[in-house]
Amino acid sequence: MTEFLANAGSWILAASESGEAAKLSDGGVLASMAWLIPVVPMVAAFAIVFWGKKMPYKGWDIAIAVMAFEALYGTALLLSHISSPIAHDFQIEIAKIGNMPIEWGWSVDGLSIMMYFLVGVVGFLVFLYAKGYMEGDIRFTWFFASFTLFAGGMLVLVSAPNMIQLIVGWELVGVSSWLLIGHYWEEHENSSAAIKAFLTNKVADVGLFVGAIIVSMSVGSFRFGDILDAVESGAAEAPMLAQFAFWGGLALFIGAMGKSAQFPLHVWLPDAMAGPTPVSSLMHAATMVTAGVFLVGRMFPLYLTEGFATEVRSIIIIVGALTLFLTGLIALVQDDIKKVLAYSTLSQLGYMTVAMGAGAYTAGLFHLFTHAFFKALLFLGAGSVIHSVHSNNMSDMGGLKKDMPYTYWTFVVGSLALAGILPFAGFFSKDEILASLRYASGEFGVADGGGALATIVLALAIAGAFITAFYMARTVFLTFHGEYKGHGHPHESPRIMWVPLVALAVPSAVIGFINIPGVTEVFTKLVGGREVKVLDHHAESFDGLVLVLGLIAALAGIYLGWRIWGPDKETQQERDTFRVDGLYPLLENKYYIDDFYMDGVVRPIRGPVARAMDWFNGHVLDFIVNGAGLLAKAAGRVVYWFDQRGVDGAINASGAITGAGGGVLRLLQTGKVQQYAVLIFAATVILVGGLVIWF
């Protein structure tokens, strides 16, 4: 058993051209012990299942300790990385098939450190909050076990230094999301939503599987390091990869579309609101939905290097643009506050995807980073409201500003950040995406004629900024302003719930400053360094035009929202009567995509198709089998009849003759042994004697 430990080699990436990587360190003890990051939560999840009930806080204490550890470790790694960049992969061989090793390992580089930090910090705050939110739940312990597994799965995913581990983490996230979305499984809709999430992801996983297989088999290794080296060496050096890169890249992106809920595989995400609110918060902020963007980020050079999957980028950018625009519109018509946020997540994921497609690696990841904070904040705020009024619907809310000051102010901060108003985090990241789109439309052609495409997408993105601001304004006004429409008395949530809100509001407000183009480039350095060697083209300075356009769009959205929903009205219905005929039915039915999937795909397969197969099994295949059996039986009967009638006739005739002969021979049968013996011996003598004479 020591043999595999000996194989646990490590390798350092070759220095890149820019010379920056020469400064990359292996991270020392901090990095070499980073395997604790994915392992601890996985072990803890089991520990909570088995021993959680015996703990003073019924398992929450284990979970929060784990997340505190993750947050601290993530922060430590982040700080160490900023002071001296780390890029190091550790691998432990767990099997070998043919001559391809399969390995577990952990990757410590900019991208993964960013994710460790994000999952740790956001996760810690959400877990803290969940203690208050889930108090008194029937499956409190079980919830924290699944929740820890969820975070752990995400950490397995982001720590993956190879395709196999990525897939493992990917599916772990999937299955734990299934557990969490279906947490209240007594209701049929909840378990259905869980299954919908799992299956939609599984459909996309076909892409991930196929993509991972194509890319790995073309390179001959599952390691990201080897794959990226092959990409770096160029199409001439890696002809097989170059040949299949388009399909591999496309398939991987399809996989990413599932987890990151890109149009048209986005349908599971709004339904995933069936789970408890902390789940939605973590799922939308730091885990799960970021996985797709993370994957594209990991494989970024594949999409950007000439001769490989560059054509896929036009597909990525189109899918992203469709997602950001179409889902943003749906958010306008939702009454459920969590659904509004869910659709806004979809829309923001569209931004990230667009950035990735446009080749703006830093911008895309920066938006992922900032979005994690303010979206977690918004969900937790929404959860706080729901906790207070016991309803998800904004038509039951209103006027909560007075009763829930902490929630209100933090929610406003989150909304402004999401809308992209100047000093808040969302502004910087969104502006960077817009700027890189402009850059792409000008100089960096996306495939053939990509310039025009990028321009259209830029327009859509600015329109999206307007829509975002518009629906966030609607949400804030409908929820916190005006008169209270619900029942009971709303109250501020307990401290354990609003402390995380405040803690998240701070970064939501200020964290954008870490990456001001041309001023501070902490984040660029953070995620750069390894994969993105030369290809990233983050903005060097502000792009004045898109900055102004973006800001105007956002402010216009807020203004319009204030004009429509700001003034106090008698009833909620009166307040929320802004409708566009023709468009709204389409939006309310979510473009009929869900219906199409349900009635066009799932029901036929589960119903007629499956039944047809079963019928085929019973009536055709079994017909042949049983028919053959019965035929043989029938043949047997015919033979028997013949035997009885035909053959027996002959037998009976011969029997009569034999009987006559037997009458004679019968005399010989005396029943005396010795007389028989005489005959036997005599016969033997005669026979053998005949033989002896004969020869």
Binding site: E93, I167, I213, D614, H619
Partner: protein, 523 residues
């Protein structure tokens, strides 16, 4: 330990259960405790020896080892030739392991009509047949073991099986489930075996007058047959194996046999009996007839993938939980066959880990289905809702196992599926890459369907509120015997999932050597 490595150890593993069956015969029928202890003792000894075998096994050596060769029937040049390599080792351990757990599980769970003595004897005979098949290196010996498993299983299904009345479709014959299923199982398998035996005889008479698998492979028996005859010989062998696997469209005995069989019968059937066919493909068909294997590989691959999709769709239509699991077996074995059809080291490795994983996971699923129908007296999923509330531990184990069965990465089932797909991307030279890549994509779609039927099964069985008809019923959650039988299986599922070297470490070298030897003539 020298005696152990000279084939005695292996022979003991194979024949200890049979001796146990003989000893059981002598125990009075009334003394059930002693019967159980005896059966447990012999099955346990066999398992312990197989673990010792794994330790005695030289993992650096790719060839056959720990075996022996004695004259058996000199007249036809058939010998008692046994031995294992990395391919058979995991399967030998698996069969002794599952047999032991099945006996533990049976401790308190006897199907009607009771009679543990006869049941245990059948189980032990079955164990000898199963392990024997995995160690036999002589075609006649292989055939004997291969057929030995038939009779005990036939009686298990026919005597202890499901007594419900069924109507055979199309012919509208009313009969008892157990009678129909047992006869179908027996005759269908025998039908395949007849062709298999014909193939063996053709190999003997035209391939150098020997039944020894290693000699046949080394002498190039295929060349002696001539390609025309070899084509048909492979077809006959493949038919025999495919029925046992079972491959679409020879699978129809399986759902009936599984549904009708008593719990332990289903478990053994799913966990080990199905592996005999796939193992035979790897051990006999590919090394002895490599050219024909390649000729037939596309057909096998296509049938395998049809099986995956077809079985998954059929699963979606099932209302009976046990029948659903049975159909899922067909799908999983499709992945195994896809791996074999690629004729690559990766594919065959995938097939073997797939077999082991399927053995453990589906075995566990059948245990669960059996225990649940034992408590609810029904297998109709529509009536079972809310199980998670009535029996939380059982529900949790069912959820875990379903996840393992749908190929969740990190659990044993993943490796077989994923690696089979992986191997289909670049099949052996001479096979159509376009075809196999198409099969890869379709097979990957099959994983979605697999997730679908398992999740919907969980939704129907585990989730929701319990049905009104169970109000006031007391349900015992998992008892200690069940736990003792299931916990090791769960542990193995996780262990192989996290550390697949447990299987790959044994198989890889042997598989590489097997493939290299088989195709050395092809370049």
């Amino acid at each position: 330990m020298e005696w152990f490595e000279n084939g005695w150890g292996l022979s003991l593993i194979v024949f200890l259960p049979l001796i146990g069956a003989g000893v059981l015969l002598a125990i009075p029928k009334a003394n059930e405790a002693l019967q159980k202890q005896t059966a447990l003792l012999f099955a346990g000894a066999s398992f312990v020896l197989s673990v010792v075998l794994a330790f005695a096994f030289d993992f650096g050596e790719a060839g056959i080892q720990l075996g022996t060769r004695l004259d058996w029937i000199p007249a036809i040049n058939s010998s008692y030739h046994i031995g294992i390599d990395g391919i058979s080792l995991p399967l030998v351990v698996l069969s002794t392991f599952i047999t032991l757990l099945a006996i533990i599980y049976s401790w308190e769970h006897w199907p009607e009509p009771h009679n543990p003595k006869a049941f245990l004897i059948l189980m032990l005979i079955l164990a000898t047949g199963m392990t024997g098949t995995f160690v036999a290196l002589d075609l006649i010996l292989f055939f004997v073991f291969f057929e030995v498993v038939l009779l005990p299983m036939y009686f298990m299904i026919g005597i202890w099986g499901d007594r419900n009345e069924i109507t055979v479709p199309v012919f509208n014959i009313k009969t008892q489930m157990r009678l129909y299923a047992s006869i179908k199982f027996f005759l269908f398998t025998l039908f395949g075996s007849a062709f298999m035996l014909l193939g063996f005889l053709a190999l003997y008479f035209r391939g150098g007058r020997t039944f020894d698998m290693l000699e046949l492979a080394a002498n190039g028996a295929e060349g002696m047959l001539g390609s025309g005859l070899a084509f048909w010989v492979f077809a006959a062998l493949a038919l025999g194996f495919a029925v046992k696997v079972p491959m679409f469209p020879f699978h129809t005995w399986l759902p009936d046999a599984h549904t009708a069989a008593p719990t332990v019968g289903s478990v053994l059937l799913a966990a080990i009996l199905l592996k005999l066919g796939t193992y035979a493909f790897v051990r006999i068909a590919i090394p002895i007839l490599p050219d024909q294997s390649q000729n037939w590989a596309p057909a096998i691959g296509i049938l395998a993938v049809i099986g995956i999709i077809y079985a998954s769709l059929a699963c979606l239509a099932q209302t009976d939980m046990k029948r659903l699991i049975a159909f899922s077996s067909v799908g999983h074995m499709g992945f195994v066959m896809l791996g074999i059809a690629t004729m690559t080291p990766i594919g065959i490795n995938a097939a073997i880990i797939g077999m082991v994983a399927h053995g453990v996971i589906t075995g566990l699923l059948f245990f669960l289905a059996g225990s649940m129908s034992h408590r609810y007296h029904t297998r109709e999923m529509a009536r079972l809702g809310g199980n998670q509330k009535l029996m939380p531990i059982m529900g949790a184990i069912l959820g875990f196992t379903a996840m393992a069965s749908l190929g969740l990465p990190g659990l044993a089932g993943f490796w077989g599926e994923f690696m089979a797909l992986l191997s289909a991307f670049s099949p052996a030279e001479g096979l159509s890459t376009t075809l196999f890549r198409t099969l890869m994509v379709i097979g990957a779609v099959g994983t979605v369907l697999a997730a679908g039927y398992l999740l919907w099964m969980l939704q129907k069985v585990n989730f929701g509120e319990p049905k009104d008809e169970w109000a006031g019923h007391e349900f015992h959650d998992v008892d200690k015997w069940e736990m003792a039988a299931w916990a090791p299986m769960i542990a193995v599922t996780i262990a192989i999932g996290i550390f697949p070297r447990l299987v790959f470490g044994a198989t890889n070298d042997s598989v590489v050597e097997l493939v290299t030897n088989a195709f050395r003539g092809l370049g």
